[in-house]
Amino acid sequence: MDSLWSFIATKLADFLTYTGFACMMPGNLVMILVGILFIWLAIRKNFEPLLLVPIGFGIILGNIPFKAIGLEIGIYEDNSVLNFFYSGVVDGWYPPLIFLGIGALTDFTALLANPKLLLVGGAAQFGIFGAYILAVALGFEPNQAASIAIIGGADGPTAIFLSSKLAPNLMGAIAVCAYSYMALVPLIQPPVMRLLTNQRERTIHMKPARQVSQRERILFPIIGLLMTTFIVPSGLPLLGMLFFGNLLKESTRTTRLANTAGNALNDIVVMLLGLTVGCSTQASEFLTKDTLFIFAIGALSFIIATASGVLFIKLMNVFLPEGRKLNPLIGNAGVSAVPMSARISNKLGLEYDKTNYLLMHAMGPNVAGVIGSATAAGVLLGFLN
């Protein structure tokens, strides 16, 4: 009988060493609080809830402490279910699937109606390359600097795709940073836009866009794919899926496929991506000095991207005739946070002139920013991988 009690006591003592309480480190607690903060921001403040809820929950999930005794439960343990889900991030096949959905949901009409807005989407990518210079100056290796810099594109899937290829150890911090700042776009961009424009520029009324034919909309994904990927083949996974999704939408013959890509498939991938990215932010990897630098560079990259978009429009206006000038308030939309940055342009436009609706005009550089950031990711991958 004594031996039975002794056996039970030993096993219980052993079991207690497996519990989260026994394995808890201060870092885990901090990260769990960060996860709760993300969920609170998403639900209470409505900041990108579709992304921040999965990421926040993933952060909590990934920071539940346990004893690594080969139970195959952790995200980094081979054969665990979470590790299986994580393969989509590590091998980089979630982001192209999200781009498929983005393509199926995006209407490029505003861009096609006024193609010069493509250049604004290009100018805003200086946020990426400016951040690269900053990251290199702070001592990051070129591949790490490129992964951090892509945050300036304001495109979560692209940031995950590039960092999974160039700097997998920084991917968790980069992904969380990219999505956090995307949620904070309404706070980051308006002060920069106000600072760089004057009252007269803010009240410029833009010419209504022309009508875009169905033929143009069908040809756009095909020509867009050929022109971008022939120059930057390394952007093929992202650009290919983006334009493929858009062709599904615009062809009008594959509505079912476009609906699936844009709704069900996109939702599934966003859930898994958000959850696993959150899980990957384990305290030991996340709570480092590098993470602080990444968040600092990320904020600056958003500011640089916004400023370069606005300033580029001011430069274009120097050459454009009166009546065809662009409102610089749509310059911020050159980052690919669709449609949030376009809404900000519209909101600010209305703030200074109650009849100046910039939303449809701002959608042009906004979708150009998606193409621009995917191309920039391809360029960085081509140079450094």
């Binding site: 096609l112 109606a113 193609p115 010069k116 493509l118 250049l119 989407g121 290009g122 100018a123 990518q125 200086f126 990426i128 390359f129 400016g130 690269y132 210079i133 990251a135 290199v136 100056a137 290796e141 070129p142 591949n143 600097a145 490129a146 209504p208 022309r210 009508q211 034919s213 143009e216 040809l219 756009f220 020509i223 867009g224 022109m227 971008t228 120059i231 930057v232 449609p339 809404r343 519209n346 209305l350 009849t355 609706y357 939303l359 449809m360 150009a368 193409i371 621009g372 191309t375 920039a376 360029v379 960085l380 140079f383 450094l384 991988n385």
Partner: protein
Amino acid sequence: MHRLTLIILGLLTAATVSGQGNAYLRISEVQTRNVSGLVDEYGARPGWIEILNTSWETIDVGGCYLTTDPSVTDKRLSAFQREQRMSLISRGDPRTKLGPKRAIVFYADGQTNKGTLHLNFKLHPGRACFVALYDGNGEELLDSVTVPAQLQTNHSWAAMSPITHWAPQWIDCPPQRVTPAVINSTSNQVKTKVEEFKEQDPYGVAMALMGMGIVFACLTLLYLCFQLFSYLMTRNSRCSKTSPAAQPLSQGDYPSPEVQAVITLALSQTDATMAVIALALRDYLDIHDQESGVITITPRNSPWTDRSGEILRRKLNP
């Protein structure tokens, strides 16, 4: 429809078959005089030939041919005649499936009965030795090299190349640098891209200039293309005045400021409010064609109508 599907599937299959990557197989190292080097499974030290998969996909080298007979390059030979003069690498051995950037060694000992990795010819040290690798069809020369006669004992004739792209530079490797079945190291000769950028572009300015230039080039090309398209579309719509639908839109055809305001409001609201506003907008903006109001029903024969007709007939004429 089925025929079309079959044709498409056939074309896809053909494309898949022709997409096999044997063209990426290369002869990467040869040792003709092996005295104290690599030992085979039987303890012997024959000369050997290393084949490298230079691609990023798995390729099966099984079914390909190796030879030292220079006469096989004669174009007048048929594939069958050529195959008779070469050593076939057996299929079906998992060892011949080469992963990306993987290499395999074949022993040139003239004893094919020893296994898949043994060839039916020997390498003759002391004279220039031609080595060729042929594809499984016996016609396509994948790679060839001539090993110099003066290659010393335990030295190898090796192709040094960057890992990322095949640009071989053949060198005489001393025994300590001979690497059978391992990709020939170029790390001491070719820097990685990251190292190169770190050294040549310490401030990241070159990357920024090149990156912005390329992104702008892509988007400028797209801009020019669609600007041209826009011009052509506008010109077409001006030319075809017969169709009222093709007339350029006037200011009045665009949503009024009030409607634009409602769209903006809808975008900033919750789902339910957005749905209500969208329905109201649809009701306001939706324009239908003029309908004739006449519905025409064309009777159609079907097995169902035939059957019902038959039942009716039976009831009427029992």
